[in-house]
């Protein structure tokens, strides 16, 4: 594993640890319902501290069950993850394509920068060849 990949993996592991530790250490044990998302609880809480408050508008659409709600949350995460993956995949493909094009073409018009600077090289490449 390269140093870069090691650092990235480490970053991910710390994030996972931060999420898992509260569960593993039982930090929610003092609660009746530990680790709730509590949107609904927030509503009851406000009505309990301010009994006279009436919510004056209700959601146009409410997921009929917790399952549907988590499905929609997963959909949101999946959409985001899909776009991110598309972005990085596209970039990687472009870089590889450029590197291959550079390797395939005669050494004369290939810039000496190497593949690491391929995007910058490619942008500067077209005026250079026309000149």
């Amino acid at each position: 594993m390269s140093r870069n990949a090691r650092i990235n993996t480490l970053l991910l592991l710390v994030v996972v640890a931060l999420a898992v530790l509260p569960l593993a250490l039982g930090l929610g044990d003092h609660k009746e319902e530990p680790f709730t998302g509590a949107d609904g609880q927030a509503e009851t809480a406000i009505t309990e501290s301010h009994p006279d408050y009436e919510p004056w508008f209700s959601p146009l659409y409410e997921p009929p069950s917790g399952e549907i709600e988590s499905a929609l949350f997963s959909l949101q995460a999946a959409l985001g993850a899909g776009v991110l993956a598309y972005y990085f995949g596209l970039r990687r493909g472009r870089r590889q394509g450029e590197a291959r094009a550079l390797a395939g073409s005669p050494a004369a018009d290939a810039p000496a920068d190497g593949p690491a600077d391929a995007p910058a090289g490619a942008e500067a490449g077209s005026p250079r060849t026309s000149a």
Binding site: Q41, E43, E62, F73
Partner: protein
């Protein structure tokens, strides 16, 4: 039920629920947020027109917010909350553009998930899509001024963007629902204390994930980062 229990139950909710701000508050926050969003839409269309190639990275920044604000993570207080993901876009494209991307995320959650709401959209946009990005970007910009390393500044910016969002939410709730005994200040102290504690580990996670994405961008999109001013030619040469 004691006020502390009440507050403890409120704390994990990041966005203010539909109908849970009095009409005057809801209207005031919407009026406050609107100019930022309008300005953001202009900035966004200007950016897309001037640099069509940045559309992809704009999409990726919006996608990052989508993913992070769908991740409800457990925290040390025994409740769950979610990060915001607005720091990355604010650092890359400046806060005005994040006002738009954040609003889109909040709209999605308000319309499909009954998370947040339309009447509270203004307040939620103000905290997550305006104050968060500006605070995060401000910290990032200041640290960069003092030549703090890029990734440290990125971490701090994302951390502050996340945490300041929650601070604003506490203020909004405290203003709308002051403590019967100790008033707005009392409610703010309690809201703020609990919010901060729940959110600090999540803000750390958000900072780390933002650093991770920025590292990946450094590998894949040097050209974009240089054009956006995240990497300057000179600093890049030093870093290599």
């Amino acid at each position: 039920m004691s006020i502390h229990e009440v507050l403890e139950r409120v704390s994990p909710n990041m966005h203010i629920a539909e109908g849970y701000l009095p009409p005057v508050h809801a209207a005031a926050w919407s009026v406050a947020a609107a100019p930022f969003v309008v300005h953001g839409v202009r900035a966004l269309s200007r950016e897309v027109k001037a640099n069509p190639e940045s559309t992809l990275l704009l999409g990726a920044s919006g996608a990052f917010t989508f993913v992070l604000s769908a991740l409800k993570l457990p925290s040390v207080t025994g409740s769950c909350s979610h990060p915001t993901g607005t720091g990355l876009g604010a650092i890359l494209f400046r806060p005005p553009i994040m006002a738009v991307l954040g609003t889109i995320t909040l709209l999605f959650q308000a319309l499909l998930l009954a998370h947040g709401g339309l009447t509270t959209l203004g307040a939620n946009v103000f905290s997550m899509a305006i104050v968060g990005p500006w605070a995060g970007f401000g910290v990032y910009w200041l640290l960069r001024r003092f030549d703090v390393p890029l990734m440290v500044s990125v971490f701090a910016g994302a951390f502050v963007a996340d945490l300041s969002t929650y601070c604003v939410t506490s203020v909004q709730l405290a203003l709308a629902f002051p403590d019967p005994g100790s008033g707005v200040v009392g409610a703010l102290a309690k809201f703020g204390g609990i919010f901060a504690l729940t959110q600090i580990p999540l803000a750390v996670s958000e900072g780390l994930l933002t650093v991770l994405v920025m590292r990946l961008l450094m590998q894949s999109s040097k050209g974009d980062l240089a054009r956006l001013g995240v990497l300057s030619a000179k600093k890049e040469a030093v870093a290599r």
